[in-house]
């Protein structure tokens, strides 16, 4: 049984000195109990406390940061095997592999600029190329520097320790990740990473080999370690990934308490899917196309959403199709799933419409209404603030069926001759609603 927060609290000095960064010892103890803090942050912890806390004094999986500044990627610090147990906290970094062979410096730069420009907004998140993994080759040091200059975190897919040094050393302050080639003798890489003070990927032929390699890297002075799991196919890879996470959480070996690094070569889309769902923290992906990246980003968004904090849409008015001032104006809440379902159905109906998304703290319509987050005043205010009221000339608002109890108060709050029509409860009935209710009404 892990210690509860109260049990840990009793081991702390109870001085509320705030040196750990928390206002009270209890708040700190709760974070420790959750595996989200390290006892090292408490300078006054007694040796007895350290002994009693034992393994629980540090998070089961260390955090590692690659890169610096706004785009720096921090991974690790996970505390659960299943996302529903709490949540997965650190979104894996998706690195795009750049092989400088055959590219001029200018072409490299153009490519990097193009990647830098990738910015796709989806449900409150912006998808970007998180980092660049440079293949060791002529021109790699220049490419790495160019990437680092642009703010990209860099991973070095090394072939030799010397090559790795020549790429990583000039940008060592940007904390590049060094990834040795498969089967390489590790000692030279340990020395390099330790000397540069940068994170390093370690590998092993099997789990035991991996864990001892990580332990050896630690002893050799490498501060930040990522594990590259053994596995030639999805089955053995899945085994390794599951065993590493479970071993880390159960603290069976300190060598397993590090985030995981994974490469997905050309066409290895399935491997990347497995990596994102099963605990990989940094993925170096060879394919560059949107058809690979968009599903992977989206999968990551799904898997790394806090199960207790639903994804939220930005409140506003979203045009579906090419609506004009005579198109229907619909309202829904900012729970992303609600938005997606409603927008999909409206688009499928073939009727162009304005969809006003109202802030309801990310709750679905029915839940939001039950929780009192969907009052007439609140909705009316939001519709005015977002300019939804100015999008149409007909002064008619369609609200979801489950929001019907507020129809009257909403009409009052809207004023100005606005009419509130109650739409269907289920989004799947929107198309018939347009056909049977909206169209005849507009015809009149």
């Amino acid at each position: 049984m892990p210690l509860t927060g109260l049990q840990i609290f009793k081991l702390l000095p109870n001085t509320n000195c705030r040196k750990c960064g928390y206002p009270t010892c209890l708040a700190f103890a709760m974070k420790l109990a959750a595996g989200r803090e390290s006892l090292e942050k408490c300078p006054d912890a007694s040796p007895e406390a350290r002994a009693a806390l034992g393994a629980a004094s540090a998070p089961p999986i260390r955090g590692v940061t690659i890169g610096r500044g706004e785009r720096a990627v921090t991974v690790g610090e996970e505390t659960v095997f299943f996302r529903h147990e709490k949540t997965f906290v650190r979104r894996p970094g998706l690195f795009r592999i750049l092989d400088p062979r055959g590219l001029s410096a200018a072409e490299c730069g153009a490519l990097l600029n193009d990647w830098l420009g990738v910015s796709i907004a989806r449900a409150g998140e912006t998808f970007r190329v998180d980092g660049v993994a440079i293949v060791e080759a002529p021109g790699a040091p220049e490419a790495a520097s160019a990437a680092a200059r642009r703010g990209f975190p860099v991973a070095v897919l090394a072939a030799t320790p010397e090559g790795a040094a020549s790429i990583a050393e000039p940008i060592k302050d940007q904390r590049p990740l060094i990834v040795p080639p498969a089967g390489a003798a590790p000692a030279a890489y340990f020395a390099l990473a330790a000397r540069l003070g940068v994170p390093l990927v370690v590998a092993g032929a099997d789990l035991a080999g991996l864990a001892s390699a990580a332990a050896a890297a630690s002893s050799a002075g490498v501060g930040d370690i990522l594990l590259e799991p053994p596995g030639a196919d999805l089955r053995s890879l899945h085994h390794s990934l599951s065993a590493i996470r479970r071993g880390a959480l159960d603290r069976v070996h300190p060598g397993l308490g590090h985030p995981v690094f994974l490469r997905a070569g050309r066409g290895e889309f399935e491997k990347a899917v497995l990596g994102i769902t099963k605990f990989a923290s940094v993925l170096a992906i060879e394919d560059h196309g949107g058809e690979t990246w968009l599903p992977l980003w989206t999968l990551r968004q799904n898997i790394y959403t806090d199960p207790q904090k639903p994804l939220q849409m930005e409140p506003g008015v979203y045009p579906l199709g090419e609506p004009d001032s005579r198109s229907p104006l619909l309202m829904t809440t900012n729970f992303s799933l609600t938005y997606f379902i409603v927008s999909t159905e409206v688009e499928a109906s073939g009727v162009a419409a304005h969809l006003a998304v109202v802030d309801a703290e990310g709750l679905s319509v029915l839940t939001a209404w039950s929780a009192g987050k969907l009052s007439g005043d609140r909705v009316a205010k939001s519709l005015r603030q977002t300019g939804a009221v100015d999008r149409v000339s007909h002064r008619t608002l369609i609200i979801p069926g489950y929001a019907s109890p507020i129809s009257g108060e909403l009409e009052d709050a809207m004023g100005d001759g606005w009419r509130v029509i109650v739409g269907p409860q289920e989004a799947s009935d929107i198309a018939p609603f347009f056909r049977d209710v909206w169209e005849p009404m507009r015809a009149r």
């Binding site: 010892c25 209890l26 959750a34 199960p307 207790q308 109650v422």
Partner: protein
């Protein structure tokens, strides 16, 4: 069981078996034992015999064995001196009768007597059984009536048939009375009798009604997946019928011994007998759900009485009011200028009062308007209104009155053009001109309530009658009773203690968010979402016994101070999938209850104060423990047991049992001003009850401080009792 009925049934059974044996012997004489026998269009041979005897009869020889089994079941007739027990003997006699009757029916074709002919349809083939039987099993058809005998005249026969048809009840007819049959009566009235019209005449002999029971047996085979076999299988088939096939027997006209024997056979299936003549009644309840035999029922009342006795639930598909209705109209306003008539608000007395009555004192479906109707008053008139709803139900308990009454609001908000606000005696109700012009009258308020109550609460509501008082005199006369009931209900709820009940209710509605979480709701600790109290749990269970709220027997007390019971712990272990062993109802330190995520407030220990703080969901700021609500929620929620932290419903703070195992309300040192305001005077009153009248003022809130150290200073300054109580951990 009545000795007279038992004696008649046993006599009848003897005669039936005798007749079957004779007929069978003749048939065997004329044909061989290998001669094939059976009903057309069925794969279940002779289905009643298959179910009761477990034997597939396909030849005369098989039938001989089956009738021998029936003979062995025959009890001897009760003598003058023997009084008990009759029930078992009569039931055996009934079963033997059904076997004998099916034998007689099956032998008819061999004797050259066709099973069908004229308007008689004869036994039902499997294809129709599957088509119609599905309706019976999925509830589209609420049940079937097996009508034996005849009515006094053709007109009465037609009215009875129509009444049953209106309720979608399938009508089987068989047997005669005084040479007359119900089917012949209907035929003379020109009533169409087919499977499509739900009127199915089997045959003129009493024995033909056995086809109705064969139909029931095959339903159990087909839809219940049951197989024939030995005694155990037979019992399951009978139980299946008792639980799912809502059938009953209407005994029409004088009963002879064979009819009594047949009735006893039907009772085996849980099908009660409703009779129009004066025979001894057999009241609750052993085999049938409620009464077994109810007699002397007027023909007009037979359908409703039968429906009630069998517990048939009839749903209204379309509520008969002249305006559209549904949840979509729930929030609709009727504006001043659109009002046809209005009640309550600040203008007139308007209240709603729902009460429970014994079954025989409610006339189901009766709706009355006492006073002016909508057409009797000028447009925009303001009338007083007393909505008086009387309900009855076999499983209705007076405690559910308030729960049903609370639903009046949503029910009356649903018709288009009706606005309903408030509850109890704060109701404000308007009917729009548009609704009136469409034909909506005050009476229709009753129509809506009648159908919604029956449809939405079929498990507890059997009968509803509504009176709408619209004259001041009646309204004022009824009001004191309503007001007294409101007060009494509040007091009753207040008087309900954890000690006074043996059963708590679980709530697993949140397991979708928090996998291992279970709420245990006690009379003095409501659900942590604040929305569910013990009574709600109780009613929810009655309404849906397979739902998310289950009764949990407390069992032996393990620690009454902490609130631990053996029964609760056993339940928790199971319901949490083995993750939790123990729950304390009254402690947040020792084995506290888990929290899902829906809690209204979080209570958390505050080391250094000897007390606790309570923060509500709406409060976004910092708290003395150094965590905001959202970071506290992260620690507390998700179905974990987190000692020192619990999610609670705000009203729990007022309970006698509020963390009583940890020192109770006197521990409360800090909360948000919103919580203090919401609890207000009631919290002050609780403070007085625990002998700490000044406590309310000593409890700090965010306007005093949001950090620990100033809080400790404040507590010392005001001499908060928690400081004296010692640390909780």
């Amino acid at each position: 069981m009545s000795k007279i009925i038992a004696a008649a049934a046993i006599r009848g059974a003897h005669a039936c078996v005798q007749r079957a044996e004779t007929t069978l012997a003749q048939a065997i004489g004329r044909h061989s034992r290998d001669a094939a026998i059976g009903f057309p269009g069925t794969a279940y041979a002779l289905p009643t015999i298959l179910a009761l005897v477990g034997k597939r009869v396909e030849k005369l020889g098989d039938l001989e064995e089956a009738v021998q089994v029936a003979r062995a079941w025959l009890p001897s007739e009760p003598t003058e001196r023997l009084w008990l027990p009759y029930l078992g003997a009569a039931l055996d006699a009934g079963a033997a009768t059904l076997v004998a009757q099916e034998a007689v029916e099956a032998l008819k074709p061999l004797r050259g007597e066709p099973l069908a002919g004229g308007f008689w349809l004869g036994p039902t083939p499997d294809s129709i059984l599957r088509e119609q039987g599905i309706k019976l099993v999925d509830g589209r058809m609420p049940g079937f009536a097996a009508c034996v005998g005849a009515l006094p005249d053709d007109e009465t026969a037609e009215r009875l048939a129509r009444d049953l048809q209106e309720r979608n009840i399938l009508v089987f007819m068989g047997g005669a009375c005084g040479g007359e049959t119900m089917a012949a009566q209907l035929n003379r009235r020109g009533v169409e009798m087919t499977w499509e019209t739900f009127l199915v005449p089997y045959g003129p002999n009493t024995s033909s009604i056995v086809h109705a029971l064969g139909f029931a047996c095959r339903a159990a085979f087909t839809f219940g997946g049951l197989r024939p076999g030995g005694l155990k299988e037979t019992r399951e088939i009978l139980l299946y019928n008792q639980r799912r096939v809502f059938a009953f027997v209407l005994a029409l006209g004088e009963l002879d011994d064979e009819k009594f024997a047949t009735a006893a056979g039907a009772i085996n299936f849980g099908f009660p007998v409703i009779s129009d003549t004066d025979i001894p009644e057999i009241l609750p309840s052993g085999i049938c759900t409620y009464e077994h035999v109810v007699s002397n029922v007027a023909h007009r009342d037979m359908p409703s009485r039968a429906v009630e006795v069998r517990g048939v639930k009839i749903r209204t598909v379309e509520i008969p009011i002249p305006v559209r209705h549904g949840p979509a109209f729930e929030g609709e306003r009727v504006r001043r200028e659109d009002v046809a008539v209005e009640f309550g608000g600040k203008y007139t007395r308007c209240f709603e009062y729902l009460t429970s009555r014994p079954m025989d004192q409610v006339q189901d479906g009766l709706i009355r308007v006492a006073g002016p109707e909508i057409a009797d008053v000028p447009e925009g008139a303001r009338l007083p209104l007393g909505i008086f709803v009387e309900v009855a139900g076999r499983k209705l308990q007076p405690e559910f009155e308030s729960i049903l009454e609370r639903h009046i609001h949503s029910f009356l908000s649903e018709p288009m053009g009706v606005m309903h606000l408030g509850q109890r005696d704060t109701v404000w109700l308007r009917i729009s001109k548009k609704a009136r012009d469409a034909g909506f009258r005050i009476e229709h308020l009753g129509t809506v309530l009648l159908h919604k109550l029956r449809n939405d609460f079929p498990a507890i509501v059997d009968k509803v009658q509504v009176t709408l008082f619209t004259n001041a005199e009646d309204v004022e006369r009824l009001y004191p009773a309503a007001a007294a009931a409101y007060q009494q209900r509040d007091e009753r709820m207040g008087a309900l203690t954890d000690e006074s009940v043996d059963i708590f209710y679980s709530c697993a509605l949140c397991q979708s968010y928090a996998p291992n979480h279970v709420c245990i709701i006690t009379p003095e600790r409501l659900g942590l979402c604040g929305a569910y109290n013990w009574l709600d749990g109780k009613a929810a269970y009655e309404i849906n016994p397979l739902g998310g709220n289950l009764p949990v027997r407390k069992g032996d007390a393990i620690d009454p101070a902490l609130g631990q019971w053996k029964g609760i712990n056993d339940f928790i272990r199971n319901a949490s999938n083995g993750v939790f062993e123990r729950f304390s109802a009254y402690s947040m330190i020792n084995d506290p209850m888990t929290s899902c995520g829906c809690f209204e407030c979080i209570a958390c220990v505050l080391p250094g104060t000897g007390g606790i703080m309570i923060v509500d969901r709406e409060y976004a700021g910092q708290t003395p423990v150094g965590m905001t609500f959202s970071s506290l929620a992260e620690m507390t929620g998700g179905g974990q047991q987190t000692p020192g932290f619990i999610g609670i419903g705000t009203l729990y703070v007022l309970s006698r049992k509020f963390i009583s195992g940890d020192g109770g309300l006197a521990r409360l040192v800090w909360t948000t001003s919103r919580v203090k305001q919401r609890l207000g005077d009631k919290l002050r009153q609780r403070c007085e009850e625990i002998g700490k009248p000044g406590l309310y003022e000593k409890i700090a809130d965010e306007t005093v401080c949001t950090e620990l150290e100033p809080l400790i200073e404040h507590l010392a300054a005001v001499e908060h009792p928690a400081l004296e109580m010692g640390e909780m951990i």
